[in-house]
Amino acid sequence: MKPSFIDLVVAEFKNFFIEFLRRKSLIIALVMYPYLLTALIMFIGTMFGSLEYFKQKIPADPLLFFLASSLTLLISLVIIDDIGARFIWEERMGTLPYLMLIPTSTAKLILASPIPRLALTSCWVIAVLAPTAIVIKGVGAGLAVVLTCLIATLGALCFVGLALIIGGLLILSRGEWSIYWVIRPLILFISGIFYPTALMPIWLRILSMTLPLSYAIEASRMLIAFENPEMRLILINVTLMTALAILYTPLGLKTYAYLEVRTKKLGGLRI
């Protein structure tokens, strides 16, 4: 019996929520991470430096700037981890071969797998961002919060193609953790998760232009944290990341399929 994509999503939803509710530490992590990341940067920044200098460099509210960045980081990690690194987690648990044995393409399952966590994290983005934004910018910020969340989620989805390529490379490298540990922060760094790409050296800026996440981060931060967000720039960012997604997603699917076959030829699956 061949499972449909909906069957796979349902399976992933049940699996994720049972595990999520059973591991209370996961709930604590989801709740605390955006605050911790923001607190760490703001704390050291204000202890050693000054908010004035920050405002001179970026015309944005620093708290909303870093909070939006941290939340976008959380959403981006859903895709990087659940698609890019799903294989090595499954390989560690010994479940990978059984997932590859289901009577449908593994890529389909991998695409279904981040949906539950993405849905939950997106809701959490609104829950964290809304009160802070409303206190700082007033009730009118409500719409901006929802739009920020949508842009961040869309940005993460636009990253699926590249995540599939990373996943394929990881499976080909026999679940080499070292590669994953480097790739994970590198993507976030190049995308300018906490540091605007505009202030980066030119070569890094060019690299960041190839990642859909960079545009999502830029647009979501602009929308929620900047004093006078320019809608035109936000739209350009959203368009560019969508264009990259249109390019990367089919490429990712093809590359993944090729790498899976290659792994099976080389005998790379650890059982």
């Binding site: 061949k2 499972p3 349902v10 049940k14 059973r22 010994g94 059984y98 044995l101 289901i102 005998g267």
Partner: protein, 333 residues
């Protein structure tokens, strides 16, 4: 003759591995895991793939399970090619790989089965009913383990759950890779009984890898002896034993391994070739295959006593599957 469930034709598989030669230097070595093996498994029979470590048993199972692609040759499951039609093949097989892991540790046995069931396209009440049925069949319900998280499972429970997953979509073909490895005798027996029943009642075709001779002898209808990627013999256990017909085994039990090694050396120099050594608890068994054991026993005893070697127990046995295995693979220990 029943319908063929598995057809394997001239499968060849090579792996290349890197051998470390220094801090930065390494050398690539090609290992021939399978050298053109062919065999069939019919519905209603258990075929054992028997061989020492590294013989190619797991590689065969992986190829049949579509987890590995052969370099040449092909295999067909219910007529579907594992190379060209992997999705179709996956709809027909239930696979059991390592027994100690392979499930989500924080999910219960039942939740794990429900998850994998959904991945197989089972849903709603049918899925629930099927999971209950299978849990009952493998005895996990009776052990009160269905609602316990996997992390708490013993190895025996894990093996049962693994078999349960393989049976969940009710596949006509089962590929079981050393399903009783490391299990306690009651759990191992339960798994064997289950497999036998499935074959008799449902007519499933089962490929069963093991290096446990006793197990192979009692569960398999036919056995394929594989060594270094080649099938060196095949047949029913009785047929295989005939390969060493004319021979019987003299078994000498000794207290220490050093004494056993000394005895083997003496026997070798005296022209005895078919000798194997197996540890059995505190004792070491030295087995010598000879044509006329009654006559040879006197000579062997004379040799042992003249060198001051103490023997604790002597017996003459019919050759076992193990003797066939040792004789054909050349594995002495």
């Amino acid at each position: 003759m029943a319908k063929k469930g598995i057809e394997v034709r001239e499968l060849v598989k090579r792996y290349s591995t890197k051998i470390r030669k220094g801090f930065l230097r390494s050398e690539t070595k090609v290992i021939e895991a399978l050298r053109g093996i062919s065999f069939d498994v019919h519905h209603g029979e258990v075929v054992g793939l028997l061989g020492p470590n590294g013989a190619g048993k797991t590689t065969t199972i992986k190829i049949l399970a579509t987890l590995l692609l052969p370099d040449s040759g092909d295999a067909f499951i219910e007529g579907y090619s594992v190379v060209k039609e992997p999705h179709k093949v996956r709809e027909c097989i239930g696979v059991m790989l390592t027994v100690e892991k392979g499930f989500y540790p924080m999910l219960t046995g039942k939740e794990n089965l429900e998850y994998f069931g959904r991945l197989y396209g089972l849903k709603g009440n049918y899925l629930k009913k099927r999971v209950e049925e299978i849990l009952d069949l493998v005895g996990l319900k009776e052990l009160g383990a269905a609602d316990r998280i996997y992390e708490e499972y013993s190895l025996g429970m894990r093996a049962r759950l693994s078999l349960a997953r393989a049976l969940l979509p009710n596949p006509p073909i089962l590929l079981l890779d050393e399903p009783t490895l490391g299990l306690d005798p009651p759990s191992a027996r339960r798994i064997r009984e289950l497999v036998k029943n499935l074959v008799r009642k449902d007519g499933k075709a089962v490929l069963y890898t093991t290096h446990n001779m006793f197990e192979a002898e009692i569960i398999c209808d036919r056995i394929l002896l594989i060594d270094k990627g080649v099938i060196i013999a095949s047949g029913t256990p009785a047929e295989l034993k005939k390969l060493v017909r004319g021979f019987r085994a003299i078994v000498l039990k000794l207290r220490e391994e050093v004494i056993a090694n000394k005895l083997i050396k003496i026997l070798n120099t005296s022209g005895y070739e078919k000798i194997s050594k197996i540890k059995e608890g505190e004792l070491v068994n030295v087995k010598i295959l000879v044509e006329d054991p009654e006559r040879e026993l006197t000579t062997i005893l004379k040799l042992a006593t003249s060198h001051g070697l103490e023997i604790d127990y002597i017996a003459i046995q019919e050759p076992s599957l193990e003797d066939v295995f040792i004789e054909l693979t050349g594995a002495k220990e």
